[in-house]
Amino acid sequence: MGKGRMTPSINRISRSALRCVCVCSIAVAQLCSSVTVAQENRPDFTGVWTVYRSGDGAPAFAAGPRPSFTSGAQAKVETYQRVTANTNHSPGAYCVGTGMPGSMLGSGGYPMEIMQRPEQINITYEAHGEMRRIYFAERVANPNDVWPERNGYSVGRWEGDTLVIETGHLVEQVDQAYAHSAEARIVERYRLSIEDGGKKVITASLTMTDPLFLTEPFTTEKKWQAVPNGRLMTYECAEPQWLDVLERLTTQDSAGSN
């Protein structure tokens, strides 16, 4: 078998392979291009955001009415308020996060950070380092296999350029301004806009429904503005207590050894 007979075959194979590679490359490129376009059509919320301030510098806090409670819920809220009135007892005093929807609507005026990927978005509220994870498509867990939490479990989807987040699997909470039962469901709708001057703004509407606590859906809105190249700080809320304990132990040790 001589080289001369092999060459045409190899050439044919090479040409076929080359054609295949080219066709596949074009197909992949088209696929990638379509994916890129689809992603590009979705706004990117990645970044650090703080409470929106209007032209006069005044911060814009969540507006709208407070939830309208059922009589049973009102009684629970009043009990909570009565037992904690004129005390320093609150979730924050024990380094416990606010929970939804208070974490999104309040967060003590601290900034938040959003990290966005196609399959998951993480939102970190600096206060108490509260983090929400919003899952998409295949990342969404079996709803029967989710442990309820103060910030619930959130599933995201896109409606055009609007990010829609539905949150359930909450726990009953009377220890925040937006008290709710474990049956509450929250729908948030996030839109990105750019004001004159280039300021990036997130506007989010929030609607909470709750068959046990609310007489009607509670709806409000919140706005944030981008903090260019902003950074969140850690929030080690329990550090002072630990340092006090360590100091006491060290003092006791010193006293014992003297």
Binding site: N88, S90, G92, G108, A127, E236, C237, L243
Partner: protein, 127 residues
């Protein structure tokens, strides 16, 4: 000199809602009557959710004593310009506080002037 007479009253409108301190009730502090206090730093712990400051204060009526103050969080102070090297034990500083409503020692620190004269927070205006 009596402590309360040594405090410089500053009548201001305090916009409490604009502050980042949603951690416990601030009912014991009178944000409507901020005052400035000068003392020697004994303890300066900048942490979350609140800072802890112990200053050695001297006045005519009760003499020299240590008074503990609470304050804005480390994160809040950082964004107002505070850096770790700016305050040390032994420094004489002036703090702006919301005093205790019952008149007892202590208060909530909203701003201060470091030993080098740098103002952290708004030492002379509303928060």
């Amino acid at each position: 000199m009596n402590l309360m007479r040594s405090l410089i009253p500053i009548v201001m409108t305090v916009v409490v809602a604009s502050k980042a301190h949603a951690h416990h009730s601030a009912a014991q502090f009178d944000f409507q009557k901020p005052v400035n206090v000068t003392g020697i730093v004994k303890v300066a712990r900048f942490s979350n959710p609140h800072a802890k400051l112990i200053l050695e204060i001297t006045d005519d009526s009760r003499g020299k004593r240590d008074i503990e103050f609470e304050g804005h969080s480390r994160n809040n102070m950082y964004r107002q310009g505070l850096r770790p090297e700016m305050m040390a034990v032994g420094d004489e500083i002036t703090i702006r506080i919301a005093p205790m409503r019952d008149g007892s020692d202590g208060g909530y620190v909203t701003a201060f002037i470091t030993v080098d004269g740098k103002a952290i927070g708004n030492i002379s205006a509303a928060d």
